[in-house]
Symmetry: C2
Subunit: 231 residues, 2 copies
DNA sequence: CGCGAGCTTGACGTTGTTCAACTAGAGTGG
DNA sequence: CCACTCTAGTTGAACAACGTCAAGCTCGCG
């Protein structure tokens, strides 16, 4: 499934860039000593919902999805991740279980850090803890938006939101080729695959977007924004 | 709207009981000096979505609702609160805005603590920060369940979940009189008032619950659990 | 060439909303 | 004491949104 290596220094890791700037050299050393690199192939499972949370993953390359496994084999994709993100989950600091499943959409390289070491670092460095609090709360705010989008918008609005999410947050371009299937798009928007396909066709017929296979382009952003608002 | 008083010592406050045990005397004193009591009447707004997050509220008595204001005057109730809870919100440690509205369902007594003082306390006490991280993540786990319930269950299942929530989490009894209206029940379950009423009638006709006005009783817990699971 | 997985389309049935009407109870003023 | 109003709750019928099922399609791959 994954080769175990330890080629890179921590300072090439995404942690160094964003979050770990507040750590002392000793703290960084301790983390560096308790980490290892794991490479996943597309479709492989990185973390499994219900399993113990023993490690934090830091993504160094690739795309993947974070999703909750619900009823009747239905999944709800919480977000797509890409490089320079780190994945812990709400089990951290609570029950140390994984509350979602994380899987690779492309080949993915990660750096696994021992959850206890991470926990101790937070425990001993309150500025770092404060940064973690901010990070978790930003996720929470995103979830609030997701609540409204998923419960109060019709399918057209939800698909519009998903397209904006992919364009603005993941690919940072109105012309993009997301690493997701139609089923994934449906799992992001809480509908069936067939419905997602129908909405895409509608938006295409409207000249709002162009879709060819997995190549998306936003043609009329104003119209798509209106659809997102009015549901 | 609310009288400003300062009768109680902090040690009668809910913080003392649950969360603030890790604080030193000096830290408690500082918080005590930067707090004041506010009493709200039923239906009054305690925090307003979109406003600045200047204070943390600690509920000393009463019931209220925490909800997101969405589109077309539709609300989504995230949870009901009662005494001995504290309400901060995901704006804490991030943008210091309120991302939900909090309002009183009954008369509510609160203790307001200055958000900056609270922030500083977290900043200077990493054990306390760790407790906050755990608290926030527990909320996050609850939100995950809510995601699945709201997006993957049919109306019967969602109402069943709401009844269990009220019975088990709020009133801790199968026989209870919740402080919420039919519209509130609808806002908890992401459906219309009319639909909520119809489902209640179904469950009543099934002998699964009894409903008389605002008095609820779970008659057949096993049946209700099955409805919750199978949607 | 044929196979299989993901994609697409249409017909149909179910779920859930909208709208309108009606009811019951709680004030409120004459 | 009686209209009157106002709000929350309730019900029914028409309608729209959405899912299900089945069939056919496309395209890469052995």
């Amino acid at each position: 499934m994954a080769e175990i290596t330890k080629n890179l220094r921590c300072d090439r890791c995404c942690f160094k860039q964003e979050i770990f700037t507040l750590l002392s050299d000793e703290e960084m050393d301790r983390i560096n000593q308790n980490r290892y690199e794991v490479n996943f192939k597309s479709h492989e499972t990185i973390f499994k919902q219900g399993a113990a949370l023993t490690h934090i993953a830091c993504i160094t390359s690739g795309f993947g999805k974070i999703y909750i496994e619900g009823f009747n084999n239905k999944n709800l994709i919480l977000r797509i991740f890409k490089e320079n993100e780190f994945i812990g989950g709400p089990g951290m600091y609570t029950d140390f279980m994984m509350h979602y499943t994380v899987s690779a959409l492309t080949d993915v390289s990660t750096c696994f850090i021992d959850a206890r070491v991470f926990y101790d670092t937070v425990k001993n460095n309150s500025a770092f803890a404060l940064q973690m609090l901010g990070h978790i709360n930003r996720m929470g705010i995103q979830n609030f938006n997701k609540f409204i989008n998923l419960t109060q918008k019709h399918m057209h609005g939800r698909i519009a939101d998903a397209i904006f999410y992919l364009a603005d947050r993941i690919h940072e371009s109105d012309d993009f080729e997301p690493p997701i299937s139609r089923q994934d798009l449906a799992d992001m928007t809480a509908m069936t695959k067939e419905s997602a396909i129908r909405i895409l066709k509608d938006l295409k017929d409207n000249q709002t977007i162009s879709v060819e296979g997995n190549h998306f382009r936003i043609l009329n952003r104003a119209a798509l924004e209106k659809i997102s608002r009015t549901g």
